[in-house]
C-alpha cells in the first residue's frame, strides 16, 4: 500500500518534473542560506512572482490554444501608465481615493481591448500569432513612449501606493490576488467548456472544426484574458513602485514563457496545465530570490536559469520519451 502511494507520487513527479525541481530548489536554498526558510521570505517570493505569475496564467491558456503572446510586457507598461496617469486627471480631482477606480478600470479595459485586438487579427488574417504579437509588442511599446513622453508617471494618491502593503491574515494582498487568479484560471481551463475546447483547438485544429467548435472566438477570448491579466499585473506592479515607467515590463514575455514552458506546456499547443505553470512560476521565483540571498551576481542568475530551463526540458523529454514515441501523432 505504502509502496503503491509512493509509486503514484513518483509517477506524478515524472509527469510533472517541475514540481520535483521546485522541491529540490526549496530544500537546497533552505539548507544553503539563513534567510530563505522564513515566512517573511515566502511572502516576498509570492509577491515578487505575482506579476510574472499572473501573466503566465494567461500565457498557459494562449499556448495550449496553439498561439503565443509576445506583447504582454508592453501591454503591462501601457496599462500601468494609464492606471497612474488617469487617477491624476482633473475631472477626478474631487473624487478622493475613488479616483483610483476609474483609473484601474480603464487600465484593465486597455489590456482586454489590446488582447482582443491581437486575437481578432490572428483569427481573421490567419497570420501566425508569433508575428502578430511581435508587431503588437513593438507597436504598443512605442505607444507607451508616446503617451508618457519618455518619462515616468508618479502616483499622487497614497492609497494607491499603499495598496501593495496590505495583508489578509498572513497573506500579502498581491499574493492573494495571484493565488485567487490561479485557482480561477485553473478551473476555467480544466473544468469549463471553453477550457476543453481550447485544448482541442490547440491539439488538432481540423478535428476541432469538424466537431463544430468555433475556433476563432475561443482564441479571441484567450487573448482577451491574457490582455486582462497583463494589465492587472501592470496595475499591481505600479502600486508596488508608486509609479509607472516607460520601460516597465521589458523582457517579461521571456520570463513568462520560460515559466510556462518549465511547467510542461508545449509550444505546439494542446498540452499543459495550470498546476505545471504554477510550479514553473514558483521555481523561477525561488531561484531568483535564493540566488539573490546567496548574493550571486545578477548576470550569473541568467546563465543558471537558462541552463536549468534546458535541463528540465531535457528531463521531461527523457521521462516521457517512451510514451511519446508510441503516440501516433
Amino acid at each position: 500500500m505504502a509502496y503503491l502511494t509512493r509509486n503514484a507520487l513518483v509517477r506524478w513527479l515524472m509527469q510533472n518534473p517541475i514540481w520535483g525541481f521546485v522541491l529540490i530548489v526549496f530544500i537546497f536554498f533552505s539548507l544553503m542560506t539563513d534567510h530563505f526558510f522564513d515566512l517573511r521570505n515566502f511572502q516576498n517570493i509570492l509577491v515578487q512572482t505575482s506579476t510574472i505569475g499572473l501573466i503566465a496564467l494567461g500565457m498557459t491558456l494562449v499556448m495550449i490554444n496553439g498561439n503565443i503572446d509576445l506583447s504582454v510586457g508592453a501591454t503591462l507598461a501601457l496599462a500601468a501608465a494609464f492606471a497612474v496617469d488617469v487617477q491624476g486627471w482633473a475631472m477626478f480631482a474631487t473624487w478622493g481615493s475613488w479616483q483610483i477606480l476609474p483609473a484601474v478600470t480603464l487600465a484593465l479595459l486597455v489590456g482586454v481591448v489590446l488582447g482582443g485586438l491581437n486575437g481578432f487579427i490572428v483569427w481573421k488574417t490567419g497570420v501566425d500569432a508569433f508575428i502578430v504579437t511581435l508587431g503588437a509588442m513593438l507597436g504598443i511599446r512605442g505607444l507607451v513612449f508616446v503617451y508618457t513622453g519618455e518619462s515616468s508617471f508618479y502616483a499622487m494618491n497614497f492609497a494607491y501606493s499603499d495598496f501593495s502593503a496590505l495583508k489578509v491574515g498572513p497573506l500579502p494582498v498581491l499574493a492573494l490576488i495571484f493565488l485567487l487568479c490561479t485557482i480561477a484560471v485553473h478551473l476555467l481551463l480544466s473544468r469549463t467548456v471553453h477550457g476543453r475546447n481550447s485544448y482541442a483547438v490547440g491539439g488538432n485544429r481540423e478535428a476541432a472544426v469538424n466537431a463544430g467548435i468555433r475556433v476563432g472566438p475561443h482564441m479571441m477570448v484567450n487573448f482577451m484574458i491574457i490582455g486582462f491579466l497583463a494589465a492587472l499585473s501592470g496595475v499591481l506592479l505600479s502600486t508596488q513602485m508608486g509609479a509607472a515607467t516607460p520601460n516597465l515590463g521589458r523582457d517579461y514575455e521571456l520570463w513568462v514563457i520560460t515559466a510556462v514552458v518549465l511547467g510542461g506546456t508545449k509550444l505546439t499547443g494542446g498540452k499543459g496545465d495550470i498546476i505545471g505553470t504554477f510550479g514553473g512560476v514558483l521555481a523561477i521565483g525561488m531561484l531568483r530570490n535564493g540566488m539573490n540571498l546567496m548574493q550571486v551576481p545578477a548576470f550569473y542568475v541568467y546563465v543558471i536559469l537558462g541552463s536549468i530551463l534546458i535541463a528540465v526540458l531535457f528531463l521531461d523529454k527523457h521521462f516521457n520519451r517512451q510514451a511519446e514515441g508510441g503516440l501516433r501523432l
Binding site: T192, V193, G203, A208, K271, L327, R328
Partner: protein
C-alpha cells in the same frame, strides 16, 4: 528437420505499457520467401509486435533472432541495417517534403561538401515509383497527394533497402482495388526474391489469397499458427474472436419515413457537379465509387465544410444553407471523416474528451463540464463498440488504430444525429467489430435515422445499404436498390462504363 532457417524469429516477447500488457509471451517467425499473415482484433498487439521487431520498442522480455543469431535492436536504424523494414499502419511522412525526400529521408544521396545529389535522388525514386505503377513524379509534395498515393510513398521507402524481412501493417486500408493489385505484385516479387513478408490486415480475402501461414494474436497472447491452405475463414475467426461470425446479409425492406435530406443539382467544382438524391428516414444509402469520385467532397459539402457553387440542400423539405459544421450539427447532420488522425481526433486528449467533443457544451452542470455525464456517454459507447482501452483517461494517441476509429464513430453516434454520414467507416477495423458497426448502422436506420455510407469496399456497400448510388468523376451514374444490384453492374457504374456515360 528440413525446415529452412527462419529469416526472423521472435520468442516469448513481452511488452507492457502503463496499464496495458500489450504482448504476453508471443512467438512468431518468418521464413525466407514466405508471406506470413498476422491476425487479431483491434488492440490485440499486432502493431506493437511489429514495432518491437523494427526496433521502435524494446521488449520487456523475450529474444529476437535474425538468421539464427540473437540480436538486440534499439533503434529503427539498427533494424533497417539488419534488413528489417516496417511499413507503418499510420502514415509517417513529412507532409511538407516531396515524395523523393520522404523516400530517402535521412539518407539522401550526397555529392561533395554534403550537397544533396538531387539528380540521383529523383532518378532512383522515379524508378521505384514506376515499379509501383504510381503516376505522380517524385518531386510532388506529399501534402498534395491522396492518402492512397501517400501510402505508396510509404511503401516505396521500404524498397530502397536490401530487405530480409518487410512488414506491411495494414497497407491496403486506403488503397483502391487497382492499387491493391499493384501492391500484391510487389509482394509476390519480393517473395520470389526470398524476402520474408509479414502481412497484417483485417481483410480475410486478402489474407487468404496472399499468405502462406497465419498467426493469430488475441489480447496480446499467442493463439496459434495455421497453414493457410489447410484452414478456412471460420476457423481463423474463431481463433481470433472466440466465436463464429454471422455474416448473413439481412435485407429487410425498411419502414421508410419521410424524406429527411434532399439534394438538388448540387455542384462544387471541380469535385462534383449536378448531384441530386433524396434520403428518407430509416434507410441506409451507400455511395460507391473509386477514390476521387467526389464522394468525400460531397459529404464535406453537406457537412458545411465546403461551399457549393450551385444547387440546393433541403432538410425536412426546407431549403437550408449549411455554411459551417456547427450549422450542420445543429440541423442533425454528422460526419465521420475519412481520415481519423487528421480530421477526427485530438491525439493529445483522452478518450472521453474526444468522444464528447462536439457536445461538451451541452454536458454542463452550472459553469462546469459534468464529468459524470461525460463518463456515462463514454461508457455506453465503449461497451457498444467494444473499444479497448485501459480507462477513459488514456490518451487517444496510445490506442490501436482500429480503436481510434471506434472513438470517432462513437463520437458521432453519441450525438444521435438525424442524418449520419460515414466516410470509410470500417477502415482498419477487425472483422468482429466491423460486423458490429454494420449492425449498428442498420439498427440506427431501423430507429429512424437516415444513414449515408461512403465506402470503396464493395462487400461493405452491398452488405449495409438499402440503396446504392454509384458515382464516377463527380457525377451520379446509377442508382440501385439492394434487391436488384449485381456486382457487375456496380463495377460498370463506377468506372464510367455503360448507360451512356462517357468513359
Amino acid at each position: 528437420m528440413t525446415r529452412k532457417e527462419p529469416a526472423l524469429r521472435l520468442q516469448q516477447i513481452v511488452k507492457t505499457f502503463p496499464g496495458v500488457r500489450a504482448l504476453d509471451g508471443v512467438d512468431f517467425e518468418v521464413l525466407p520467401g514466405e508471406v506470413h499473415a498476422l491476425l487479431g482484433e483491434n488492440g490485440a498487439g499486432k502493431s506493437t509486435l511489429m514495432k518491437v521487431l523494427a526496433g521502435m520498442y524494446q521488449p520487456n522480455e523475450g529474444q529476437i533472432y535474425i538468421a539464427g543469431e540473437e540480436v538486440t535492436m534499439t533503434t529503427p536504424l539498427d533494424a533497417k541495417n539488419q534488413g528489417v523494414v516496417l511499413i507503418h499502419q499510420e502514415l509517417s511522412l513529412v507532409p511538407e517534403m516531396t515524395a523523393a525526400e520522404n523516400i530517402y529521408l535521412g539518407e539522401l544521396p550526397r555529392k561533395s561538401f554534403g550537397r544533396v545529389d538531387w539528380k540521383t535522388l529523383h532518378a532512383r525514386c522515379d524508378e521505384i515509383l514506376s515499379r509501383l505503377k504510381c503516376r505522380f513524379s517524385s518531386d510532388t509534395v506529399v501534402a498534395g497527394l491522396s492518402i492512397a498515393n501517400q501510402q505508396m510513398v510509404e511503401i516505396a521507402r521500404a524498397l530502397t533497402v536490401d530487405a530480409r524481412v518487410v512488414i506491411f501493417d495494414e497497407p491496403t486500408a486506403s488503397l483502391t482495388d487497382a492499387e491493391k493489385v499493384v501492391l500484391f505484385d510487389i509482394i509476390n516479387d519480393l517473395k520470389a526474391q526470398g524476402v520474408g513478408i509479414v502481412y497484417i490486415s483485417h481483410r480475410m480475402d486478402e489474407i487468404f489469397t496472399l499468405s502462406d501461414r497465419i498467426t493469430v494474436l488475441r489480447d496480446g497472447s499467442y493463439r496459434g499458427t495455421l497453414v493457410t491452405a489447410e484452414t478456412d475463414e471460420d476457423e481463423v475467426t474463431r481463433l481470433m474472436i472466440g466465436r463464429s461470425l454471422d455474416l448473413s446479409r439481412n435485407i429487410k425492406t425498411p419502414e421508410l419515413g419521410d424524406v429527411v435530406l434532399e439534394v438538388r443539382g448540387l455542384s462544387c467544382a471541380p469535385s462534383f457537379s449536378d448531384v441530386s438524391f433524396a434520403l428518407r428516414a430509416g434507410e441506409v444509402v451507400g455511395f460507391y465509387g473509386l477514390v476521387g469520385a467526389g464522394r468525400t467532397e460531397l459529404a464535406e459539402t453537406l457537412f458545411g465544410l465546403r461551399r457549393p457553387d450551385g444547387g440546393t440542400i433541403l432538410i425536412d423539405g426546407a431549403e437550408v444553407a449549411t455554411t459551417s459544421p456547427q450549422d450542420a450539427i445543429a440541423r442533425g447532420i454528422s460526419l465521420v471523416p475519412e481520415n481519423r488522425k487528421e480530421q477526427g481526433l485530438v491525439l493529445t486528449m483522452n478518450c472521453r474528451d474526444n468522444m464528447t467533443l462536439p457536445q461538451v457544451g451541452d454536458l454542463t452542470a452550472g459553469p462546469f463540464v459534468s464529468s459524470g455525464a461525460e463518463i456515462a456517454i463514454f461508457d455506453q459507447y465503449r461497451d457498444r463498440l467494444a473499444i479497448k482501452t485501459p480507462s477513459w483517461r488514456q490518451l487517444v494517441g496510445y490506442l490501436s488504430g482500429g480503436n481510434q476509429q471506434k472513438i470517432v464513430i462513437g463520437k458521432w453516434l453519441s450525438m444521435q444525429p438525424r442524418v449520419l454520414i460515414v466516410d470509410e467507416p470500417t477502415r482498419g477495423i477487425d472483422v468482429g467489430s466491423k460486423a458490429e458497426i454494420h449492425n449498428l448502422l442498420r439498427e440506427l436506420a431501423a430507429q429512424g435515422y437516415a444513414v449515408i455510407v461512403i465506402s470503396s469496399e464493395m462487400p461493405e456497400v452491398l452488405h449495409v445499404s438499402d440503396r446504392i448510388i454509384a458515382m464516377y468523376h463527380g457525377k451520379i451514374t446509377r442508382e440501385f436498390s439492394a434487391a436488384e444490384v449485381s456486382e457487375d453492374a456496380l463495377v460498370q457504374a463506377i468506372s464510367g462504363l455503360g448507360n451512356g456515360t462517357a468513359a
